[in-house]
């Protein structure tokens, strides 16, 4: 009994080094993404409060307050809801997303003035999210299937030593031709992502900071900063009140819950 239970991990540990010897950069890139996903699996549900600070070239600021809830769906993309608390003319506006590993997400927007739930076509996720430097695709559920990968090199980074990997969106409607991601080797957390536009020039850089570990497993940043190199604008996302496994279920992600999300 005990032996058989022990055997598979043993086999795995024996197989790994052998596999990595023959690994192509593409295989290694994919393996890194898979390992990062494996390490974060099982978060169940989570919620957080976010402040979004939009800055233009001159440094003028505009602030939005949001809350988010997400539900892990093991065999598909996650379900999520984003609720706006400010600016006051948008208060109560809420966005419900059922993301999918491949193909477009299902998305509904609740407009509180009309009390209307509107299904929106979300095939093209390259557009900006509420006027920020984040595109919808930057904030959507990050699934392995959404990219192909290529490992480039190891490099020192803020999180110690990082794998530097290129990833290419599989979605033909993506606004990017490629992304370069820095992932630390100790905990497989992203520290920096560079986004290259359709003309293959550097468009934006996203940096992560203030990582904290939740439930002894899940690392989440306290801050994400997206800088647009072409316009000089930037958007800062500051997270607080992270909560995990607070008992959210499918019933918290329906059109009914969207209407009362405020």
């Amino acid at each position: 009994m005990k032996m058989t239970k022990l055997l598979p991990p043993l086999l795995l540990s024996l197989a790994l080094p052998a596999a990595s010897l023959a690994e192509t950069p593409e295989e290694k890139g994919l393996a890194i993404a898979k390992e990062a996903e494996r390490r974060d699996e099982g978060w169940g549900d989570s919620s957080a409060t976010m402040q979004m600070i939009l800055r233009n070239k001159r440094g003028d600021e505009s602030v939005r307050d949001l809350r988010s809830k997400s539900l892990e769906i093991p065999d598909d993309g996650d379900k999520s809801m984003i609720i706006f608390d400010s600016p006051p003319d948008q208060e109560g506006t809420a966005l419900l997303t059922f993301s999918h590993k491949t193909g477009p997400d299902d998305q509904w927007l609740f407009l509180p003035a009309l009390k209307r739930v509107k299904r929106i076509a979300s095939k093209n996720k390259s557009g900006p999210f509420v006027g920020s430097e984040f595109a919808f695709e930057d904030l959507s559920s990050q699934e392995i299937e959404k990219y192909t990968y290529k490992y480039l090199r190891d490099e020192p980074c803020e999180g110690g030593t990082c794998f530097v990997t290129e990833r290419y969106p599989t979605d033909e409607y993506s606004g990017y031709t490629k992304q370069i991601a820095w992932t630390d080797q100790a905990e497989y957390r992203p520290w920096k992502i560079e986004f290259y536009d359709r003309k293959k020039t550097l468009l934006k850089t996203l940096t992560f900071s203030g990582y904290k570990q939740y439930l002894d497993k899940h690392w989440r940043p306290a801050k994400m900063v997206m800088v647009n190199h072409q316009t000089g604008k930037s958007t800062e996302l500051v997270f607080s009140d992270y909560k995990f496994k607070s008992g959210l279920s499918d019933s918290d992600f329906t059109q009914n819950s969207l209407k009362r999300a405020r």
């Binding site: 919620s47 409060t49 006051p88 208060e91 390259s126 557009g127 006027g131 059109q255 009914n256």
Partner: protein, 446 residues
């Protein structure tokens, strides 16, 4: 020190989840200026100031054990020109209880049904607050008991509506109105229970992949009244004709009244007639790539012969046009009403062409430009709606309408009377022909 620290920590831990427990108050003040291209048919001013106040209170901290919420929204408007537009309403005064797979909502609330943009056929729970905006999207709070069930095969809503709200209409001094004013103090109800007739409604909505589908049924007092002229001639009982029977005024009577028009001997206004109806509604939406195909249809009985009406069309959105941040949407819808010429509104066989611009900027600037065109009568309504936030607590909202009926508005009492009596289906819009306007509202949020 340590002990007090531990107590403080314990207190913090004992507090309810700050992420979901909320009590909020908010206020909105709107200053509006309507500018009309011409003086009104009845000599009304061209520039009309108006002001709006809204107060909202919301809490979900009613109970520690269960998920409950209370909401109150008060709306009030003052209008310099129209005493009927100066009005107040309780938009929301409601209590919500969330159970496992069900919700109970009680009190005055607002509910929206439907998928299309041009005309909200299926949307029938709330009465239209027409004096607010002629687009029909402002609604009065509707008292209700609403049970909502969430099941794997969709969401089911059951409504009991114990009290009816009458539609608001502009007063005699107001604009964008019918040729004769509507006397909202003397509505005619088909039901003896009048506004206390209990109405019932049920709706089912479900999502099947890329298709959203909805079915609804409403049984009760029509939110949409038919308007019928009331002619009061000194010394005679008032003449009120049946709005469902065209040409009920005998030509001899018309001929007799015409010379008296404009004299104190005759007074004409319109009465709203509320029939008891049954309305079945269907809505469907199919999402394919950047397209949303939409259909909304109703079948109504109780207001004359049973009839059907439908709106079908699509919305197509291009994200980031010309390498900018701008999203450009195209909206095309066909509006059809089985009653055709006998339909009381403008929309019996019309086409909407609209374009929606979302600038995706810090100010959330957006713009909706559209025209509804009747290819048979050549009636057209052009519309523009735009929003632009200024800072975080101000917003500028611009609305404009241009009416092109292809005919000039009636100039004399005799012409007006003839137009009302004749009910010319090709001239339904003629009474607002002179009411082209642009309206600017500056809103301050507190």
């Amino acid at each position: 020190m340590r002990a007090s620290g531990a107590i403080a920590l314990a207190l913090v831990l004992a507090l309810p989840d700050s992420g979901s427990a909320r009590t909020k108050q908010d206020m909105e003040l709107g200053s509006e200026l309507r500018v009309f291209a011409q003086t009104g048919m009845q000599g009304q001013e061209q520039v009309v100031p108006s002001g709006r106040f809204q107060f909202g209170y919301y809490t979900n901290e009613l109970s520690e054990e269960s998920d409950q919420a209370f909401e109150f929204v008060f709306h009030g408007r003052w209008d310099e020109q129209d005493d009927q537009r100066t009005h107040a309403d309780i938009r929301e005064l409601s209590w919500l209880y969330v159970g496992d797979g069900w919700e109970l909502r009680m009190g005055a609330r607002k509910v929206f049904w439907g998928v299309v943009e041009s005309l909200h056929l299926e949307d029938i729970i709330n009465q239209t607050d027409l004096v607010e905006n002629i687009d029909g999207e402002d609604k009065l709070g509707q008292p209700m008991i609403n049970l909502s069930l969430v099941r794997d095969y969709g969401i089911f809503d059951f409504f009991v509506l114990p009290y009816f709200r009458e539609r608001t209409f502009p007063g005699a001094e107001g604009r964008l109105r019918t040729p004769y004013p509507v006397d909202t103090d003397n509505p005619i109800y088909a039901s003896g229970a009048e506004e206390w007739h209990t109405d019932f409604a049920v709706r089912w909505v479900h999502t099947l992949g890329d298709v959203d589908i909805g079915l609804s049924h409403f049984s009760g007092t029509s939110r949409e009244p038919l308007l019928t002229p009331r002619i009061r001639i000194t010394g005679l009982p008032p003449i009120v004709s049946d709005p469902l029977v065209a040409g009920t005024l005998p030509p001899a009577l018309v001929a007799a009244i015409t010379p008296l028009l404009g004299t104190p001997a005759v007074d004409i206004d319109l009465l709203p007639v509320y029939h008891t109806i049954d309305q079945t509604g269907l809505e469907m939406q199919y999402i394919w790539e950047d397209w949303a195909f939409k259909l909304e249809a109703i079948s109504r009985s109780g207001q004359g012969e049973r009839y059907a009406a439908a709106v079908a069309g699509f919305e197509y959105t291009r994200v980031g046009i010309f390498d900018t941040r701008i999203d450009l949407g195209w909206v095309v819808e066909y509006l059809w009403d089985e009653r055709q010429e006998d339909a009381p509104g403008f929309f019996e066989q019309d086409i909407l062409f609209g374009t929606r611009w979302a600038f995706n900027n810090t100010a959330s600037t957006d713009m909706l430009l559209g025209v509804i065109w009747d290819p048979e009568t050549e009636e057209k309504v052009f519309s523009v709606e735009a929003n632009h936030r200024i800072g975080s607590h101000w917003k500028l909202q611009v609305d404009g309408r241009w009416f092109s009926s292809g005919h000039r508005a009636p100039r004399t009492d005799a012409e007006t009377f003839a137009a009302v009596v004749a009910r010319d289906p090709n001239r339904k819009m003629v009474f607002v022909e002179d009411d082209d306007f642009i309206q600017i509202e500056l809103i301050r949020y507190f």
